[in-house]
């Protein structure tokens, strides 16, 4: 059932891609490995649960609410924990991000308890037959929402001025400012978008796996980071491709009977890809001009 596995892989990959997109955007601009990104995704999932269970909202409202809440959170985190470190060594904000991550994870454990919470039913899941494959409603929704969000993002970055400003700021804050770019705003904007995407990913994954926990962000963040690097740092189509690649590789690895080595397979592939394309799948090769 290769096509079925492929579909499962793509669905998984689409959620990786959503998280990876936020990762790669932030990463592309301030070269920060935003360790707290996974935690934002986790919080997004919890906001989704809250909206559905306490406020009795439907999927769309919950999704938007989670995205908004995480936008605010992402921007705030950047203000407090990363902005003061913008001009220090690259690894400094990484450590601060790890601190934020520990903080958020512990805070969530305090608030919601450490147990996983089931995602309350928002859609009645049905299975559809599509030729040789079965696709569930959740899968369809994930694929649609993810594609829409990615298309929207692509549009912003490619055709809207702020997209170009992002690239300029990613190279040189000062010179970008000398072009009249409000660098702080660009960075806040990036965090807002990135966090919103992560929140969307959180809600969708929560629905897909029917489980939300304070610790769900750790591995997801890691996978997203890998997907972002695999695709090529800062490359938005790269993050999508990287996410899909990782999702499919994992699923097919399992399908091929290498279940125990699932993670190892994904990472081995990743290393092999990097050895052949040292700047990721869609990363521009480094130019050695001196």
């Amino acid at each position: 059932m290769l096509s079925q596995q492929l579909l499962n892989g793509i669905t998984l990959g689409a959620t990786y891609a959503l998280i990876a997109l936020g990762y790669t955007m932030v990463y592309g601009i301030i070269q920060l490995i935003n360790f707290a990104h996974g935690e934002i995704y986790m919080v997004g999932a919890f906001v989704g649960v809250l909206m559905v269970s306490v406020f009795q909202q439907g999927l769309l409202v919950s999704l938007v609410a989670a995205m908004l809440a995480c936008m605010i959170m992402g921007v705030t985190i950047e203000r407090i924990a990363y902005r003061p470190l913008r001009r220090s060594t690259r690894l400094a904000p990484l450590i601060s991000a790890i601190g934020v991550s520990i903080f958020l994870q512990t805070l969530m454990t305090k608030i919601k308890g450490p147990q996983p919470v089931a995602f309350p039913p928002v859609i009645n899941d049905a299975l559809y037959k599509l030729g040789p494959v079965e696709i569930s409603k959740v899968q369809i929704i994930i694929l649609i929402v993810a594609s829409l969000l990615m298309a929207g993002l692509h549009f912003i970055v490619k055709y809207v001025k702020i997209g170009k400003a992002m690239r300029a700021a990613s190279e040189d804050y000062d010179t970008a400012a000398l072009m009249g770019i409000n660098v702080n705003r660009v960075i806040s904007f990036t965090f807002a978008i990135g966090s919103a995407l992560a929140a969307a990913g959180g809600v969708l994954v929560g629905i897909y796996f029917n489980s939300v926990s304070p610790f769900m962000g750790v591995l997801a963040g890691l996978k997203a980071f890998c997907a972002a690097v695999l695709g090529g740092i800062g490359s938005i189509p790269g993050a999508m491709l990287g996410g899909l690649f990782l999702g499919v590789a994992e699923t097919l690895g399992v399908a091929g009977g290498f279940d125990l080595y699932k993670d190892a397979i994904a990472f081995t592939l990743l290393i092999i890809v990097l050895l052949f394309r040292p700047t990721g799948l869609l990363g521009r090769p480094i130019q050695r001009k001196v």
């Binding site: 400094a92 601190g99 980071f225 993670d263 990472f267 990721g280």
Partner: protein
């Protein structure tokens, strides 16, 4: 020696200090790779685990003497450091980071599935040979070695690579050899650290050496001050002791710990002792020394 320690310190402090020492050895190794040479490694825990399992298995299965087992663990980790380093060190920056991270996860999964390592059940019953005295000796030896390296022709070439690879190469530094040597030494220390860990905790489980552990080591050296040996010592101490000192706030411990990391980083963006090198602490003295010896030579 250990009995002298236990006269002044209770077992809890001894345990905590021993653990600190073990982490310090690993952190010094990572500092050489990442802090001094500038090569990002997110897979340091893997080398700890290689050292830990190697030495533990030698102790358990072959009853290898303690010192020998530890050394073998270090060498095995160093060997894998070279094997990994050879193909991946041509990657730069985060791409190298990811490759090492991937390696770390692969190692973990492999240990999880090997029979000799006990798989997911872990490896128990390792003799408790690691004492504070042993660890202290190794720490002193490592610090001494690192200070010597830092102030040598070899150490300088590593820093040069960190600062500007192209210029270093143009000045005649064989960057591949230098990087691999740094990797070998750094991972060797990780292996030693892992071996001591195994013989202290007496139980090994692959899940204890995941990527979070690797990032923990990175935190030690960045917060202390990349490339600074006093910084590594301070950073590792603060971060391993803080969770213990913070026990009095009980339930808010990890919340505070997380905030503390953010706060310390914001206050000292280059790390607690960023840019401080042992040699520079004594810089004045040194300059005078070279001055006198130079003039002595001229006479």
């Amino acid at each position: 020696m250990d009995s002298i320690f236990s006269m002044f310190l209770n077992d809890y402090y001894i345990q905590v200090l021993t653990m600190l020492g073990i982490y310090l050895i690993g952190a010094l190794g990572l500092n050489l790779i990442t802090g001094v040479t500038g090569q990002l490694s997110f897979g340091h825990a893997a080398f700890l685990s290689i050292g830990a399992y190697t030495s533990a298995i030698l102790s358990l299965k072959l009853h290898t003497p303690f010192g020998l087992a530890i050394l073998a663990g270090g060498l095995m980790a160093g060997l894998w450091g070279v094997l990994l380093g050879y193909p991946t060190l041509r990657l730069t920056g985060d791409y190298l980071g990811i490759a090492t991270l991937g390696f770390g996860e692969i190692v973990r999964v492999v240990f999880l599935n090997m029979t000799i390592t006990g798989g997911a059940l872990g490896l128990a019953g390792i003799p408790r040979n690691t004492t504070l005295t042993v660890v202290l000796l190794v720490v002193i030896l490592s610090v001494w070695a690192m200070v010597r390296l830092e102030n040598s022709r070899f150490g300088r070439s590593l820093v040069a690579i960190r600062e500007d690879e192209i210029a270093a190469e143009a000045m005649g530094v064989n960057i591949t050899t230098a990087k691999i040597t740094a990797f070998a030494i750094g991972t060797f220390l990780a292996g030693i650290s892992g071996g001591l860990y195994a013989h202290l905790i007496q139980y090994l489980n692959p899940s204890d050496f995941g990527f979070l552990k690797s990032f923990e080591f990175l935190t030690f050296i960045v917060l202390g001050g990349l490339g600074s040996i006093p910084g590594v010592i301070l950073g590792t101490s603060v971060l391993t002791l803080a969770p213990e000192f913070l026990r009095f706030i009980s339930d808010y411990r990890m919340l505070v710990y997380g905030l503390l990391m953010v706060f310390m980083m914001i206050v000292r963006p280059r790390g607690l002792l960023g840019g401080v090198q042992l040699r520079r602490l004594f810089a004045k003295k040194n300059v005078q020394q070279t001055g006198t010896s130079a003039s002595g030579g001229a006479n």
